[in-house]
């Protein structure tokens, strides 16, 4: 059994057809998985099922061999929108997962600052979310999801609202942080190049099912140039073509 296992998962929203149909998926520790698919194919629902935010109608989710009934404290989740609390400063937003339980200690305060530094927004520490740009808000949301050093991270199109250049910077920042802590990641995106650049595996979802799962054989240390080498582009093309196959 893998680090995270989805075993024949089914889910449907009340009054609708099946959103997720018989998905079986195994994720090993430290792996970075991307989930690609068109809008409405059930990606977000699958992510919520994997994180324990939704309970499957049929099938089971196991995390380190134990059945998941609700989100674990070892899990970090980043939503499509940054979901920051406008009445708290950037630093307080980052520390929220801890401050909900108790007063953060000096070690945690230091780690919060380290995360902001790694994300390149330490100068925004005392500002409020409404004073930040979309990219900066996404960075705060990622820092918040990492403050408790989760062993598993779920990200739902976290860079959807940022421009292409900022998006590339954020991708590198995220990879750096996840590799540093060997975090296992499931990342949802619409962008094929983003999926190939970030992940070890790219899963294609269509009609509520995972229809393909590609291995990405690129060195762990990613670089800007990789986006332009032949293997990278061939893989992107292969994934794109498999999409055409899915839609036909």
């Amino acid at each position: 059994m893998g680090f995270l296992t989805l075993d024949h998962i089914h889910y449907s929203y009340p009054g609708q057809g099946s959103t997720v149909k018989d998905v079986t998926w195994q994720i090993e520790e430290g792996e970075f998985h991307c989930l690609l698919g068109k809008s409405g194919c059930g990606k977000t629902t699958l992510l919520k099922l994997a994180a324990g935010l939704l309970k499957p109608d049929k099938g089971k989710v196991y995390w380190q061999g134990v059945e998941v009934f609700k989100p674990s404290s070892q899990v970090g989740y980043v939503f499509q929108s940054p979901t920051l609390l406008e009445w708290k400063t950037v630093f307080d937003n980052v520390l929220l997962p801890i401050s909900l339980k108790r007063k953060p200690n000096s070690k945690e305060l230091d780690y919060g600052e380290t995360l902001l530094e790694l994300m390149g927004i330490i100068s925004q520490k005392d500002k409020y979310p409404t004073e930040l740009s979309g990219g900066q808000q996404s960075r705060v949301a990622i820092a918040r999801s990492l403050i408790q050093s989760p062993s598993m991270l779920f990200l739902d199109e976290p860079f959807a609202a940022v421009d292409a250049i900022t998006r590339e910077e954020l991708q590198d920042d995220l990879l750096k942080l996840c590799q540093l802590r060997k975090t296992t990641v499931i990342f949802i995106t619409h962008d094929i190049t983003e999926a190939v650049y970030l992940s070890d595996h790219v899963a294609i979802m269509s009609g509520g099912q995972i229809v393909q799962d590609y291995n990405v054989n690129l060195p762990k240390e990613r670089s800007f140039e990789m986006r332009y080498d032949s293997y990278f582009n061939e893989l992107c093309l292969k994934i794109r073509q498999s999409f055409s196959g899915v839609s036909s």
């Binding site: 989740y77 979901t83 406008e86 708290k88």
Partner: protein, 251 residues
Amino acid sequence: MKKVEYYSMLLMLLMLIGWELIARPMSELVLPSPGVVFIELWKGVSSGYFLPHILRTITEIVLGLSIGCTMGFILGVLMGEIDFLRRLIFPYVIASQAVPKLALAPLFILWFGFGMTSKVVITALICFFPLLENTLTAIQYTDPNKKDLFYILGATRLQTLIHLKIPAGLPAILAGFRVSVILAVVGAVVGEFIGGSEGLGALIIASQGMMDTPLMFSVLILLTIMGMLLYLGVNLIEGLFLKTYMKGRNK
């Protein structure tokens, strides 16, 4: 002072001149001129004649507003949090609001007497609904992603309420408070119209009986000033609470 503020002052001056011109050929009983009204106002203020009435009306407004808003907020939170409670009592709350509350004023005077209590009850009842409605909506429609976030973080229901739903709903709750403040003045004054010997509303009725139109106008000016000060107070409170929500958006 900005250009628009000059124009605003100029507009006021023009209105006063217009008032003076219209009032000049008319009887003081129908429309007293601004000069007569301001002399009456100054006499009343300097002699201390208005003071007990102003204090009475302010006390009724503050008490009614505090009681009505507190009840509205508490019930709004409870109904927003407890689905069963909302479905159980919401039709009755709507029914109670469908009755024109000012039409209930004679009944409250019958029940609570001619003293301050009846006016405070009327004011509280009028202030209650905007706060209830806005609080309920704010609590119910908290961003589902933020609720999911708190669920993932293992927050209890009370923590989610205190750290998410109430602060997130604060702009809507304060918008309800703004409406309540305006209605509170109406509630207190109308209550005094119907039965009372003290307060600015009672003074308007008394001036009508005495056919003292300049006095009536002076009281109306006092009520306008009072309403504007209350509105200013609400703006200050909003600015204080919503400062962080608006940062960056004001640029």
